[in-house]
């Protein structure tokens, strides 16, 4: 696990994207520099309680979050954070997660 979530920032106009793009939708620049976002505000939360084909499923909390100076993204929540909560972001493999700031 690593702190923050990697995003891609357009080298031309500075806009941050997640997931990765090939061209910047705003200026169509083709070069991106890696950046990290470390905090976000929770906007909506859901709990995935049932998944097709799964018989032994433990509910999982997901949220739509607005990152600071970055894009909106969907994260897994590792605690009971609700809408309006500021969460710290971290990555597990290629998946973004969040939990309330200590």
């Amino acid at each position: 696990m690593s702190a923050g979530v990697g995003i891609w920032r357009c080298a031309s106009c500075g806009t941050g994207y997640f997931p990765e793009r090939l061209l910047c939708p705003r200026c169509h620049g083709h070069e991106f520099t890696p950046d990290r976002v470390t905090e976000a505000v929770v906007e909506e939360v859901t709990v995935i309680r049932h998944v097709l084909g799964q018989t032994d499923w433990a509910p999982r909390r997901l949220a739509n979050v607005r990152t600071i100076n970055g894009p909106r993204m969907t994260v897994g929540l590792r605690d009971e954070s609700g809408p309006g909560t500021v969460v710290e972001l971290f990555e597990d493999g290629t998946a973004p997660f969040g939990a309330a700031k200590a």
Binding site: P19, E44, T46, I48, H50, R60, T74, T94, A95, F97
Partner: protein, 384 residues
């Protein structure tokens, strides 16, 4: 406006919740094609073009399907744009016939993924889903649209029961559709007591995956069987990746072309007698209707309670995918188009809307990351 191309026939296979031994995507597609050819009174040898969409045709492609169906063609298309695939194929086929590229053209959509097959598709929908959503246990599109639905409820003041009006109304229509997989009446108490799937979506908010197929035939209007009205498309528009996934998903790509669509059709929302709105989730039906300008004052809650709850508007008269069933994602849109055709040809049986003359149909889909990125709409008209 298409003057030399029209929809002249429709056909569908049985819809089943689980494909049985011996049933496959290919056999369901075959059954729909046979039904459509019979309905249009067209010999298979006459078919010059075919368009197909399916999540579960692979490793076969369109030409393999042509081979398996014994169709030698000069026009062929395979569409991969999810819930708006059928609308895309309709537009391409109309232009193909209108310009003389091929006629008749068979448009077919079918899927028989089964539950495990659908789960694999949902987890590998695209690179973004595979890398950033599936590892979270997002549960496929249910997880994505649960967040969109919460946003819509917050923005428009919708209650859970408002979505229930749609599920109940469509179930009542489905009771009159012998092909629908769910035909038993649904009450508001049952709707509200249904098990939660992905908050706030309960069982009746999540479109049931079925196995089945649908087909329509496009040809010159003169080819319509005697005693039947051809169905013309007055206008059709599409949108792809309308906002780069940077909005809230409460508007669809339809919002980018709705005004142009109505103008091109020389029609207005009040002219519409029947609507087939792509209904993978109730929230997206309201979003599409709103984008089309069919919800007065953008008051989604009032529309849900009055126009849908009191059955003032015939919407998804086959029961919608939520009650009739969704064969995969891409195939689902064609049943709405077929239903509009049956209504405009006054062949919808017990669910016939009296004197139906104009319909609107939509497609919506390809959940790229936070919501769908493809959308389409068409205005259909009965030719007298």
């Amino acid at each position: 406006m298409f003057n030399n191309a029209a929809i002249i026939g429709v056909g569908q296979s049985a819809y089943v919740r689980r494909p049985q031994s011996g049933q496959s995507t290919h056999t369901f597609i075959r059954d729909a094609v046979v039904a459509a050819l019979k309905d249009a009174q067209i010999d298979g040898k006459e078919i010059q073009g075919m368009a197909v969409t399916s999540f579960s045709l692979a490793p076969d492609t369109a030409v393999d399907l042509a081979w398996r169906l014994g169709l030698s063609l000069r026009w062929l298309l395979q569409d991969t744009n999810g819930g708006s695939s059928s609308m895309n194929m309709l537009g391409h086929a109309l232009r193909g016939v209108e310009t003389g590229a091929a006629s008749p053209i068979l448009v077919v959509a079918g899927d028989a993924t089964g539950l495990s097959g659908y789960a694999k598709i949902a987890a590998n929908y695209n690179v973004a889903t595979r890398e950033h959503l599936a590892p979270l246990g997002h549960g496929g599109p249910n997880g994505v649209y649960s967040l969109v639905t919460t946003r819509q409820m917050n923005k428009y003041g919708l209650k859970k029961s408002d979505y229930g009006h749609m599920a109940i109304a469509q179930r009542a229509w489905a009771a009159k559709n012998p092909f629908a997989v769910y035909r038993e009446p649904l009450t508001m108490d049952e709707y509200l007591a249904a098990p939660m799937v992905a908050d706030p979506l309960t069982r009746y908010d999540c479109v049931p995956v079925v196995a089945g197929a649908q087909a329509i035939i496009i040809a010159h209007p003169d080819r319509v069987p005697k005693g039947r009205a051809p169905v013309r498309v007055r206008a059709i528009r599409n949108s792809f990746n309308y906002d780069n996934q940077e909005g809230d998903g409460l508007q669809t790509g339809i919002s980018t072309f709705a005004d142009e669509l109505w103008k091109a059709a020389d029609a207005k929302p009040s002219d519409i007698d029947v609507a087939s709105i792509y209904d993978d989730y109730p929230a997206m039906v309201l979003a599409q209707l709103n984008d089309l300008g069919m919800i007065p004052a953008n008051d989604l809650a009032a529309f849900a309670r009055r126009d849908i709850g009191e059955r003032r508007r015939p919407i998804n008269t086959h029961g919608g995918m939520m009650s009739a069933g969704q064969p995969g994602g891409p195939a689902g849109g064609l049943n709405g188009i077929s239903e509009a055709v049956l209504q405009l040809q006054h062949r919808a049986g017990d669910r016939q809307v009296k004197n139906a003359r104009r319909a609107v149909t939509t497609g919506y889909g390809m959940t790229m990351y936070r919501y769908g990125g493809t959308a389409a709409a068409a205005i259909l008209e009965r030719m007298e």
